[in-house]
């Protein structure tokens, strides 16, 4: 039986960049365990002879003519930004103290 511990959920949340509170971890971890137990039923069902399908249509690369078409203006592209500076997205510091 697969297990997903509270610590593991905390680690996954960290990887997914979600700052879960202790209360949220208490709430979500057991629910995820139940879901995982259910979906784990497919383990080992299909053998090596079954190919994987990632997409319902057999698509290969799609090309278009290399023609310049209008796109968003800088003002439009920045219109939803939480913070803008000099026609750019303004973001918090990226490096930590130790860098």
């Amino acid at each position: 039986m697969p297990e997903i511990t509270r610590d593991e959920v905390a680690h996954l949340a960290d990887l997914a960049r979600i700052d879960l509170s202790d209360a949220e971890l208490d709430h979500l971890a057991p629910q995820l365990q139940v879901i995982l137990e259910s979906v784990a039923s497919i383990q080992g069902l299909a053998g090596d002879d079954v190919p994987a399908t990632s997409h319902p249509l057999p698509l290969t690369n799609v090309f278009r003519e290399d023609i310049v078409t209008p796109s968003l203006t800088p003002e439009q592209a920045l219109s939803g930004a939480p913070s803008v500076e000099e026609q750019r997205f303004a973001v918090p510091r990226i490096l930590g103290d130790e860098q």
């Binding site: 960049r17 979600i18 700052d19 979500l28 139940v34 995982l36 039923s41 497919i42 994987a52 319902p56």
Partner: protein, 504 residues
């Protein structure tokens, strides 16, 4: 309630063409209706009265000049809030996108604008389309117009409820695992998931790219055909868009309405019945199957054994895709930004924003997807789910060697009570048992009202499935069945129930 707003979109188009009404009159009637009932139903997240009336006036001016753009020019429509609209907020039912106004239109939105359909507003949905009840909307649930203490289905409960409550004659929905068809079933309306790739996904805020599809939400099969043909077709902006023209659907619906299904082979899916399927739903479903036989169809039982594993495969593939899709909500370029105290880094801001902006279900699925894609688990979960997907596609192929269309109930039960499954994710996921296989395989499906349950008087849906690119079959058989079932009574009493506060 005005008689006009109870008419189908096709009838309204005829009335506009005949000069019996105007788009401004119609649009105003729907806006009045929304003002009267949406306080209770809460189908809309945003109403654009001014914009809709402007578009309606432009439509009337065109028509006066003999320049109508499309049969549906001037017929109002509601749009699910997961489709981008220039100048109108697009929240996806999430706090993450509260107040976001996109700078571009989804291709399907552009198409309905180019055809002259006034947009009434944006409809409520489960956050980022994750859910089967619309209760996961960050802006509060939509209520089922049939009984206000019941769910309207999800994720597109807003679109279905708007159409069911006569707040709009047409709506756009999106279907990733049943989000058009299941709300259709529980609100007594028609909903279609087109063949994957036949309707552009450009401007649809992606939940799971390999599963999502935009489709029509209406009260009649013919109306769905009209809207489906309008929004379908190749789009160079969507690299998964098929080049096959989307035509013949309206003709198929009109042909089907004559009621002759001689020579049509229908397969009843053996696996989508039995334990977990409510007896009142099965009773109505069996009546529909009997009607298909009476209409001349050759009905046989068909087995699709791997469907049993569809839900498990889906709840690995979908979280995997959505966990990477939703990574774009990073508080840097658009959407909510929460800045913790002190001197937070970009990563701290990201984490705080995503915790504040996402609801429980979104968090559950992102974490599950992150798990399924982790090294060490990838082959056992995501890899295995992709193989099950292959088996499901093969089951469909084998089934369609024997029959022209497949049939099943759309949803295992009628609308359940609001709150009943909110904190029991697995029970909620079970709602989509019958609808998920079509998304995994890319095949088209329709849900039409089969009547109301003898137990609770709530609507039951019957689902038809066809092979990839054979959407026309859904319309032919669906229209025949719809005509044979006749009007599904109950919604006509809607205003009495609303007046009684939903207690009836």
């Amino acid at each position: 309630m005005s008689e006009l707003i109870q008419k189908s979109a096709a009838e309204l188009a005829d009335a506009l063409a005949a000069g019996e009404t105007t788009s401004v009159e119609l649009t105003q009637l729907y806006l009045d209706r929304i003002a009267a009932v949406d306080g209770e139903v809460h189908a809309f997240l945003h109403i654009d009265a001014e914009g809709a009336l402007e578009q309606a006036a432009a439509s009337d001016a065109r028509r006066a000049n003999g320049d109508a753009l499309h049969a549906l020019d001037g017929v109002p429509i509601a749009v699910k809030d997961v489709l981008t609209t220039i100048g109108l907020p697009t929240t996806c039912g999430s706090k993450m996108l509260e107040g976001w106004v996109p700078p571009y239109d989804a291709t399907v939105v552009k198409k309905i604008k180019d055809a002259g359909l006034p947009i009434l507003g944006k409809t409520n949905m489960d956050e980022f389309a994750m859910g089967s009840s619309t209760e996961h909307s960050a802006y509060g649930p939509t209520k089922n117009p049939w009984k206000l203490d019941r769910i309207p289905g999800g994720s597109g409960g807003g679109s279905a409820a708007a159409v069911a409550a006569f707040e709009a004659p047409l709506a756009l929905g999106t279907d990733t695992g049943g989000s058009i068809r299941q709300p259709g079933a529980v609100t007594g309306t028609v909903g279609v998931k087109p063949t994957y790739g036949s309707v552009s996904r450009y401007g649809l805020v992606a939940l799971a790219n390999s599963l999502d599809q935009v489709g029509p939400v209406t009260r009649t099969v013919l109306d769905s055909a009209l809207l489906h043909e309008l929004i379908g077709g190749h789009d160079p902006l969507d690299s998964t868009s098929t080049t096959t023209p989307v035509t013949g659907l309206v003709d198929a619906a009109r042909a089907g309405a004559t009621g002759d299904l001689k020579g049509v082979k229908v397969g009843v899916i053996k696996e989508l019945a039995g334990e977990g399927w409510a007896p009142d739903v099965m009773a109505k479903f069996n009546e529909s199957v009997d009607l298909l036989t009476k209409l001349g169809a050759d009905v046989v039982e068909v087995s699709t054994p791997s469907f049993e594993h569809a839900m498990a495969a889906y709840y690995l593939i979908l979280p995997a895709e959505c966990s990477s899709n939703l990574a774009k909500f990073d508080a840097m370029r658009y959407g909510l930004r929460v800045t913790p105290d002190g001197d937070p880094s970009a990563e701290d801001v990201m984490k705080a924003s995503r915790d504040a902006g996402f609801g429980d279900e979104v968090k559950r699925r992102i974490i599950l997807g992150t798990y399924a894609l982790s090294s060490g688990y990838y082959d056992a979960y995501y890899g295995q789910a992709q193989k099950i997907r292959t088996l499901i596609i093969e089951d469909f192929k084998k089934a369609f060697e024997q029959v022209d269309v497949l049939v099943s109930p759309t949803s295992p039960s009628t609308a359940f009570k609001l709150g009943a499954k909110l904190d029991d994710p697995l029970a909620m996921y079970m709602q989509d048992l019958a609808t998920i296989p079509a998304n995994l395989a890319g095949t088209p499906g329709i849900s039409i009202p089969a009547g109301v349950s003898d137990q609770d008087g709530l609507p039951v849906g019957v689902q038809l499935l066809a092979p990839v690119l054979e959407d026309a079959r859904l319309y032919r058989v669906g229209a025949a069945l719809e005509a044979a079932i006749g009007p599904v009574l109950g919604l006509d009493k809607l205003d009495d129930r609303l007046a009684a506060g939903g207690a009836a």
